[in-house]
């Protein structure tokens, strides 16, 4: 478990509230960042995108309802949804307990890897958190 966790924490890139982790085969795992889940509060309900759907970058794909708000989840990249984390239907607070690991939202086949250039590396993201 420890080595898997270490692997997941390497190589994440971020937009303001979400993280993306690429594997070697062009599949990206997407989740809500620790900063995002802290701001939103305890999760009560998660609506996930549909497997097979195509999304463009910044399209709404799913939503979460938390103590503080109902919030749409936005696709950080363009591509096709290939898997969703169905455990979140019964345990939405996994997003709070393990936002970077077990609380992942969905996986997508990325259409254009150059879009990753719009996201920022973890170290830089953590340094800029005060600006948010």
């Amino acid at each position: 478990m420890a080595s898997t966790t270490k692997k997941l924490l390497e190589g994440r890139v971020y937009n303001k509230y979400e993280w993306v982790l690429m594997d070697e085969g062009n599949t990206a795992t997407v989740g809500i960042s620790n900063h995002g889940q802290t701001q939103l509060g305890e999760m009560f309900h998660v609506e996930l995108p549909v497997v097979g759907d195509s999304v463009e970058i910044n399209d709404s794909c799913g939503s979460v309802e938390s103590l503080h708000a109902a919030t749409d989840v936005f696709a950080p990249l363009s591509g096709e949804i290939v898997e969703v984390n169905t455990i979140l239907k019964s345990s939405p607070n996994l997003i709070n307990k393990s936002p970077l690991n077990h609380g992942w939202l969905f996986k997508m086949k990325v259409k254009d890897v150059t879009e990753l250039g719009k996201l920022i590396a973890e170290e830089q993201y953590l340094a800029t958190l005060e600006d948010f």
Binding site: F44, H45, E65, S66, H68, A69, A70, T71, F74
Partner: protein, 391 residues
């Protein structure tokens, strides 16, 4: 010593200059700011009291305005209605039959949170900001300050972001919606709501429903007017608007604007949003999947022997439609009733989980079933048990 009437008159006179009627092109101009970099605070008051029209207007303001340098307060109130949160189950949260009998509208909003009852004794406040300006506590503290400045009452904000009167009674509930670059926080303020109607409207039979829908937190409520009967709608919106607009820099003088969402530029778009909000597929169809399980028992007399029938009804409702229904009957053998139940299992699939839809179908099945006398009596009873869940 001031009488309550004199206090009201004094407040209304003081605040009447806060308001003016809005020109038709106002909404397009609302983002124009006098200062380039500081935030401008503006306030709108709706002339409409239709919940769907006001929710649509709220949605329209949210989607069309850039809030980077504008914070907008929207004040509105509605004719009697019940409003459920984005992921709630209306069958569990309110008494749908009561609402229909008393012409109380039912709406589902886009923000999360719990179910509320509105009438003209409730003020809704929506605070629109950029995403990084979103701050519920600040908004609620502003409301508390606005009210306690004009009236000597005990108001606090609790950890659930409710406004509490006298440390006991909830007079405000809060919900919010956040997007990439903007967000809104809206809340209720009970100042003189019909408490009896509220109780009846929100007391649903929770029998046998299991779902993952967001549940409301029940609370003891009270009205601001219970603490001070000079708290009227006009005086309340004046206090709140003044407190909000006071955040503008001294050289920016703004008044709160009255607006009729039915006649301003953009009203066609607002009407379209309103239509979508009123569709059954939105109000009921967006309910998260839920499961019903109920059991009934009845004695049937008048046959050759006394009969006691047990009925077990299970149903899965997805997107407001019957996905599966299963009825088991014990205590009476009848091929006709077995056949009726078998057909019912098939024919109800895909139907909207609503009383007149199911009643129509079940009557149709009974009329084409060739059942008579005892069988028909039991068939009618089975129908009434099914409809008992539907309201």
């Amino acid at each position: 010593m001031m009488t309550s009437l004199m206090t009201q008159a004094r407040l209304l006179q003081k605040y009447s200059k806060c308001f003016r009627d809005i020109p038709q092109h106002y909404v397009r101009n609302v983002t124009r700011t006098l200062a380039t970099h500081s935030t401008t605070y503006k306030a709108l008051v709706s002339k409409s009291t239709n919940i769907h029209k006001n929710l649509a207007f709220e949605q329209y303001l949210y989607s069309t305005i850039d809030f980077h340098h504008t914070n907008l307060l929207f004040l509105w109130r509605n004719d009697p209605c019940v409003v459920i949160g984005r992921h709630q189950n209306p069958w569990v949260e309110c008494n749908i039959g009561f609402l229909q009998e008393h012409n109380i509208a039912l709406a589902r909003r886009h923000s999360g949170g719990g179910t509320v009852y509105h009438d003209n004794g409730n003020l809704n406040c929506t605070f629109f900001t950029a995403r990084n300006g979103y701050n519920r506590k600040r908004n609620l503290n502003l409301l508390v300050e606005a009210i306690t400045k004009s009236w000597d009452i005990d108001l606090t904000v609790n950890e659930r972001d409710d406004i509490i009167l006298d440390g006991l009674y909830k007079i405000s509930g809060t919900a919010a919606k956040l997007d990439k670059t903007k967000g809104y926080h809206h809340c209720t303020l009970l100042f003189n709501v019909q408490a009896d109607t509220l109780q009846e409207a929100l007391s649903a039979t929770h029998i046998g429903c299991k779902s993952k829908a967001t549940a409301s937190f029940p609370a003891r409520i009270a009205n601001l007017a219970d603490a001070d009967n000079t708290i009227t709608y006009e005086a309340l919106i004046a206090s709140v608007a003044e407190q909000f607009l006071a955040q503008n820099r001294e050289n920016q003088v703004y008044s709160a604007e009255w607006v009729d969402p039915g006649s301003i530029e953009g009203c066609k778009d607002i009407n379209k949003i309103q239509e979508d909000l009123q569709k059954w597929e939105w109000v009921f169809g967006k309910t998260p999947p839920f499961h019903i399980h109920r059991q009934f028992r009845k004695d049937f007399k008048g046959y050759s022997s006394h009969v006691q029938i047990h009925l077990d009804i299970k149903a899965e409702i997805v997107c407001g439609l019957v996905e599966k229904i299963q009825i088991n009957m014990k205590g009476f053998d009848s091929k006709n009733i077995e056949e009726f139940i078998r057909v019912l299992h098939q024919e109800c699939i895909g139907l909207q989980f609503r009383k007149h839809t199911l009643e129509y179908k079940l009557n149709e099945l009974l009329n084409t079933s060739h059942m008579y006398d005892a069988d028909m009596e039991i068939g009618n009873w089975i129908m009434s048990c099914i409809l008992d869940n539907v309201q």
